[in-house]
């Protein structure tokens, strides 16, 4: 088990990534591009991200299971319906969409190039440990769910 697994809250990862994107855009302004509707795109993606994350949280609350991403082993039920029928990680997908909105707002190629870093970090240090815990907790039910629904979208 790597020391970073389940250690940094996903919202913290988003804040760090957003800061990095802003910093990268500042140091290489030459990579900025002009996009007339950038603010509209930024707001649309951020709103879609908030809505996706909120739907995931609501599903968890309805199922009365933990929404704490640092303790997946405390999950009391496997939620597979609603938004979870389309993405295994809607909350993280929502955070990614918010970052995409931020990248549109910054309108800098470097900001977009940093987005895969968020996905890779989340896959390795958040989602994979969660999936190990859920496999142990829910066995065949989680195996079947994993086979039916993709990790992100």
């Amino acid at each position: 088990m790597h020391i970073l697994e389940l250690k940094v809250p996903p919202v913290g990862v988003v804040l760090v990534m957003a800061g990095l994107m802003w910093f990268a855009s500042g140091i290489v302004p030459a990579l900025e591009f002009v996009f007339p509707a950038r603010e509209v795109f930024a707001v649309l993606f951020a709103a879609a991200g908030l809505a996706t994350s909120a739907m995931g949280i609501v599903s968890f609350v309805r199922a009365k299971t933990t929404v704490n991403p640092m303790q997946p082993d405390k999950a009391s039920s496997l939620v597979v319906s609603g938004i979870f029928a389309h993405s295994r990680n809607p909350m993280y997908l929502g955070l990614l969409l918010i970052l995409v909105g931020w990248a549109w707002y910054l309108s800098n190629v470097l900001a977009f190039l940093l987005l895969p870093g968020f996905v890779l970090y989340m896959n390795r240090f958040q989602i994979e440990p969660e999936e190990r815990a859920l496999s142990t907790l829910f066995g065949q039910a989680f195996v079947a769910y994993k086979s039916r629904v993709r990790r992100w979208i």
């Binding site: 496999s135 142990t136 829910f138 066995g139 065949q140 039910a141 195996v143 079947a144 086979s147 039916r148």
Partner: protein, 128 residues
């Protein structure tokens, strides 16, 4: 000299008692674990998602007898799960090896196992 012979004799008795004799006295040879066996089976029944796993319910021939239930043990396999989802609620024919499989995620005793297929082929049963 006589004392030296006594000491030697004493040591010989100790060696015999602790080493050779004791080792020879072990009457239980280690049994080798037999190779895993299996039932080869083909069943016709109703495929359901029940108790958080895929299960085939095989109706009894006798009216009052209990139905027979076999689990389908799956690993992560998109095409297989897609096939199983499409067959849910239908009569299927499953063929493969039947072994003990865990009922749930946690296994603590023999009671946590049930009979099921691990490697199997499944298709929709032809209508009679």
């Amino acid at each position: 000299m006589r004392q030296f012979e006594r000491v030697l004799g004493f040591l010989a008795v100790i060696v015999l008692c602790t080493g050779g004799v004791c080792q020879a006295a072990d009457p239980t040879p280690k049994a080798e674990r037999p190779a895993a066996g299996y039932f080869k089976a083909e069943v016709r029944g109703l495929l359901l998602w029940k108790d958080s796993r895929y299960r085939v319910i095989v109706p009894p021939q006798e009216r009052l007898a209990k139905e027979f239930v076999l689990d389908l043990w799956i690993s992560e396999n998109k095409s297989l799960v897609q096939q199983l989802q499409g067959l849910l609620g239908k009569q299927v024919v499953v063929s493969g090896n039947v072994v003990w499989v865990p009922k749930g995620a946690q296994v603590a005793s023999d009671a946590d196992y049930t009979l099921g297929f691990t490697q199997f082929e499944i298709k929709q049963a032809p209508k009679f």
